[in-house]
């Protein structure tokens, strides 16, 4: 019986857990045997598979400290941190206000930094008794690999997540801390964030209507379709499993071949 893919005995924290990918990640981690703490900006939420829900503003340094302390007190360990909370900003460079730009970097980049820094000690301690150590999975994007018109703020933030991931991976390895850090790069996924992007594409005049936007984005994938949240969640689970014990600083690109051509 092989258990390279099982997460029994582990505790996970997922941020942005009420979004499409977040919900799928919570469920997939729970199905693999992990005890999952779901978090998001809402005061309360019901997330299938979660053991508990906690409100978390990922840009709030003190909130991170408090949440991690609570997890340590209540569960005694943290094995998996999924930095999934993120926002999209769809606007021309000319039309992007400084406030909008900074909000995007704050949620998408600072949130990942703050979470990593806050959780590292608990992840380090927990990783000493788990095969493959602890796992941090950071949600980047195909937009963290190549650019996109009207997505400069978003792509910049996702590119930052990619390199933060590699630096954290290199650093924890150099320190001999049992924490692996990898990034996931979804292509276009059917979620509310994607719906917002379509709507903004139409508002900014890039596409005449949402059907056209959807068709063009779908066709951008070699597979000719959008991805599903479960397909991203399966990658998150794999990176967090003992089987991925030699993977750190890697990019798991789940994009239907979009960036292959």
């Amino acid at each position: 019986m092989s258990t390279p893919f099982a997460l029994s005995g582990t505790v996970s924290l997922v941020t942005g857990a009420t979004g499409g990918i977040g919900r799928a990640a919570v469920k997939a981690l729970a199905d693999a045997g992990s005890k999952v703490i779901a978090s998001d900006i809402a005061a309360d939420a019901s997330v299938a598979g979660a053991t508990e829900y906690r409100r978390l503003d990922v840009t709030d340094e003190a909130a991170w400290e408090k949440l991690i302390a609570g997890i340590a007190a209540n569960h005694g360990r943290l094995d998996i941190l999924v930095n999934n909370a993120g926002i999209s900003v769809t606007n021309s460079i000319a039309g992007t206000s400084l406030a909008e730009w900074r909000k995007c970097q704050a949620v998408n980049v600072e949130g990942v930094f703050l979470g990593t820094r806050a959780a590292a000690e608990l992840l380090r301690r927990s990783g000493t008794d788990r095969k493959g150590g602890s796992s941090i999975v950071n949600l980047s994007s195909v937009g963290g690999i190549r650019g996109a018109a009207y997505m400069a703020a978003y792509c910049t933030s996702k590119g930052a997540v990619r390199l933060f991931t590699k630096s954290a991976a290199a650093e924890y390895a150099a320190l001999s801390w049992p924490i692996r850090v990898n990034s996931v790069h979804p292509g276009g996924i059917d979620t509310e964030m994607m719906d917002t992007i379509y709507a903004r594409y139409v508002e900014t005049g890039l596409f005449p209507d949402e059907e056209t936007a959807r068709a063009i984005v779908s066709a951008g994938h070699a597979l000719g379709r959008m991805g599903e949240p479960d397909e991203i969640a399966a990658g998150i689970v794999f990176l967090s499993a003992p089987g991925a014990s030699f993977m750190t600083g890697s990019e798991l690109v789940i994009d239907g071949g979009m960036t292959a051509r």
């Binding site: 092989s2 990658g235 991925a244 030699f246 292959a260």
Partner: protein, 260 residues
């Protein structure tokens, strides 16, 4: 949680030692039926007897011999779902100034042409699957297909070329709606008989081992079962949206700048 690949049929080239052998054993353990090829009849027979996998003696670059491999898969299994294009060598390689054209051509023949033939033949088999075309091809590249080795110019070049072979294959299969995915894996330094032999044969084995271990920031060699776990993920339906991608599995070797 075990048996992620029950009912699937897999082909592994270069399956008589190292990562290939581990793949044969690992795929069988996950419930797949496996056919594997290689040049070493004795090793192939032994692994076959131990695992139940089907061994076909074949050099991956032998064009005419592929017909026999494909027929054996058709006759024994009637389908193909997974192909692991793993066979590869670095024998006779050298740096750009000293490499011989014969060595260059031979390594290209095995590593690159052999992988191309694996993809071509695997797709032909996968297209004939009873419920319709479909499958997952994984090509074994290397971290040296991303970052170069000065002393192995041909190996580095072929491993780099495999990235684009995989992407072209992936995009073609996607455009043709074949439901066949193709990805590369990029192992770092993995503990295999080849590496252990290189360590043992070095003037200072302990120093050689330490040097190889420190290629990865994680400070150790990778294990073949770690490569197999990634292979199983890519082969499974969990990875249905993963195609044309490069999966690096290297203990952080390529994540950071050198020397820091």
């Amino acid at each position: 949680m075990a048996n992620k690949l029950t009912g699937k049929v897999a082909l592994v080239t270069g399956g008589t030692n190292g990562i290939g052998e581990a793949a044969v054993r690992g795929l069988v353990a996950e419930g797949a039926k496996v056919a594997f090829t290689g040049n070493n009849q004795a090793a192939g027979g032994r692994i076959s007897a131990e695992t139940g996998a089907l061994f076909v003696r074949h050099a991956v670059q032998d064009v005419e011999g592929w017909a026999k491999v494909s027929q054996a898969i058709r006759d024994n299994f009637g389908r193909l779902d997974i192909a692991f294009a793993n066979a590869g060598i670095n024998a006779g390689d050298s740096d750009i100034e000293t490499v011989s054209v014969d060595a260059w051509r031979n390594i290209i023949d095995v590593n690159l042409t052999g992988s191309m033939l694996t993809c071509q033949n695997a797709i032909a088999l996968m297209k004939d699957n009873p419920e319709g075309p479909g499958g997952s091809i994984i090509i074994n590249s290397s971290i040296n297909g991303i970052l170069a080795l000065a002393g192995d110019v041909t190996y580095s070049t072929t491993k780099g070329a495999l990235r684009l072979l995989a992407k072209s294959t992936a995009v073609h299969c996607a455009k043709s709606r074949l439901n066949i995915r193709c990805n590369t894996i990029h192992p770092g330094v993995i503990e295999t008989p080849l590496i252990l032999g290189a360590i043992a044969g070095a003037p200072d084995p302990a120093a050689a081992r330490a040097m190889l271990e420190n290629v990865a920031p994680m400070g150790r060699l990778g294990r073949t079962e770690e490569i197999v776990a990634l292979l199983v993920y890519l082969a499974s339906d969990d990875a249905g949206f993963v195609t044309g991608a490069e999966m690096v599995i290297d203990g952080g070797s390529t994540a950071g700048l050198p020397g820091v």
